[in-house]
Symmetry: C2
Subunit: 318 residues, 2 copies
DNA sequence: CTGAAAGCGCTTACAG
DNA sequence: CTGAAAGCGCTTACAG
């Protein structure tokens, strides 16, 4: 190892480099080591370090769809929280797939400090030899989830107050458990509020185009059956609804109110601005990262449930 | 090592697991090993393997902005090409930042098989102890780039034919070299075609919102000075132009033609559909991955230049 | 065709 | 406060 040009042993260098020199290495020697490290541009070998230690400083985040702005937010929250102590690497599943056990398995090999899995496929166990934190995985053990009830209840109350008595729901074709929960909570709240949910359910990929196409095909039937509002399981889907309505000249919210889930940054600037149940992505990432950090420090934290709320905007007449 | 339950030596297991057993290990023994591996769910330790070999099977892709759909395409191209032989991990820079040397340095530690860097900051050297392939980095050594000339020339020809004589350019505030090239080529082609480019240049972050805001502020001045078309350095910027125009009731393309660069999937469904210089992201990813693979196999390939072309649509009256 | 052994570059008890 | 040594789990010449 080159860094012994400092005139010390390998062990001493290791201590200094890892910041474990307090009270173990004299200041002048530590300084000499640091200088040598600087001069030689030395950087500890990750593979060797990981092997010797048993685990490394990588944190891997497995996400289903990086093109959804929601995940960009989650990533930001995770990165800001883990800081410099760990190195974040990302992995994406194939388009339209949710993370499954095999994905976790593949990254377990890397001996990361921990693995974060966002919106895993429903039913995946995700157990591994390293700490795993699930995000947005209702039913998952120790998952960091949103508490959707407040947001959904507020949405349904808002729709009821606006006079809607028959609504349609546009679901996502995702296997993520969170979508099942959104739908169920929404339908229950509607029933309790005396609002009928059209049995003509529809669903689409989480893209504007797919949603617009799907909605175009059912919109006339919805309107004919008396539907006056459509709630989409995600903002990107709601954008598709807005587009489909605009293409047919159906005024929003006058003839059709529209709402979504996520409250993406762009939802404040759509035409009209979109009412949405806010699911703060950065906070989800932050909470999950904190939980991982706690696990690593041995201070097991309770799995938080993040509050959601309604952001009413013009698309529902707010 | 558990897998010797097959009754062989560690070395033999290693050979079989790595598929180097042809003509070196007898079939019955190899079979026994494979069975044992299967039963015990053994998976080779990445850190140890990487350390012993000198480098691992990771390919890291450093990208500037995962929320841009363009990069989702690039990622897809890379993944499809490297296949199962390597494992792809992603890293994102902070929002609005381009990859710099320090990013490469951080990942060099991992001893990946190679590093792919998309749209690095102009001037970054990116030299490392592992193979590095630059994507979309004009001026970068051995970079895989687009040949923008055909696309830009076609765009300018198209504008000229449509009668435009004064146009504005909306640049991105990115430090990526490709943006400088886009602008320069466009301005040169305009000059050659006798089209004036408004000296009132504007630029914005690569987001719809930022672009819409920027354009709103200069649109009146552009129109007053006789500008009849605006070309944006990226489709996401062009979307912002469309939005700003729509908000003011300026008809596109009648009063203002709009065009962009990228030809994102959604550009065919904007209102109106967007004319764009197609920059096929998946092909960029594929070409870069092929180049990396070639380097790893010692069959140094020439750096390809990917053709670009114009996709004329309604936003310029096509 | 198979196995014993060295070595990859670190970290961490353990002596001094 | 400092260093010699073992060991992390593999791979790969090298003997047999």
């Amino acid at each position: 190892m080159v860094a012994e040009r400092a005139g010390t042993s390998i062990a001493t260098v290791s201590l200094v480099v890892n910041g474990k020199d307090r009270g173990r290495v004299s200041v002048p020697i530590a300084t000499r080591v640091r200088d040598a490290v600087e001069e030689l541009g030395y950087v500890v070998d990750h593979a060797a370090s990981t092997l010797a230690r048993g685990s490394g400083d990588l944190v891997v985040l497995i996400a289903p769809d990086l093109s959804n702005p929601f995940f960009a937010e989650v990533i930001r929250g995770v990165r800001d929280t883990i800081g410099d102590r760990f190195q974040l690497v990302l992995s994406v599943t194939e388009r339209g797939e949710q993370p499954v056990d095999a994905d976790v398995r593949r990254f377990e090999r890397l001996r990361p400090a921990g693995i974060l899995v966002d919106a895993p496929a429903a039913g995946a166990s995700m157990r591994a030899s390293v700490p795993v934190v699930l995000l947005d995985a209702p039913g998952g053990l120790g998952a960091v989830n949103y508490d959707l009830s407040p947001g959904v209840d507020a949405l349904v109350g808002h729709l009821r107050t606006a006079g809607h008595r028959r609504v349609a729901y546009l679901d996502g074709t995702s296997r993520a458990a969170t979508f099942a929960v959104r739908r169920t909570l929404f339908e229950e709240a509607c029933t309790a509020a005396g609002i009928a949910v059209s049995e003509r359910g529809a669903s689409a990929d989480l893209s504007i185009e797919a949603a617009a196409t799907t909605v175009s095909a059912v919109l006339d039937a919805w309107l004919a059956s008396g539907v006056t509002a459509v709630v989409a399981a995600a903002d990107t889907l709601a954008y598709g609804v807005l587009r489909a309505a605009a293409e047919r000249g159906i005024p929003v919210p006058e003839a059709l109110a529209v709402a979504g889930f996520d409250d993406l940054p762009s939802s404040s600037v759509t035409a009209p601005a979109l009412t949405s149940v806010a699911l703060p992505g950065a906070e989800l990432g932050r909470a999950a990262a904190l939980r991982l950090l706690a696990t690593l420090d041995g201070t097991e934290a309770p799995a938080p449930s993040l509050p959601t709320r309604l952001v009413p905007r013009a698309s529902t007449g707010a």
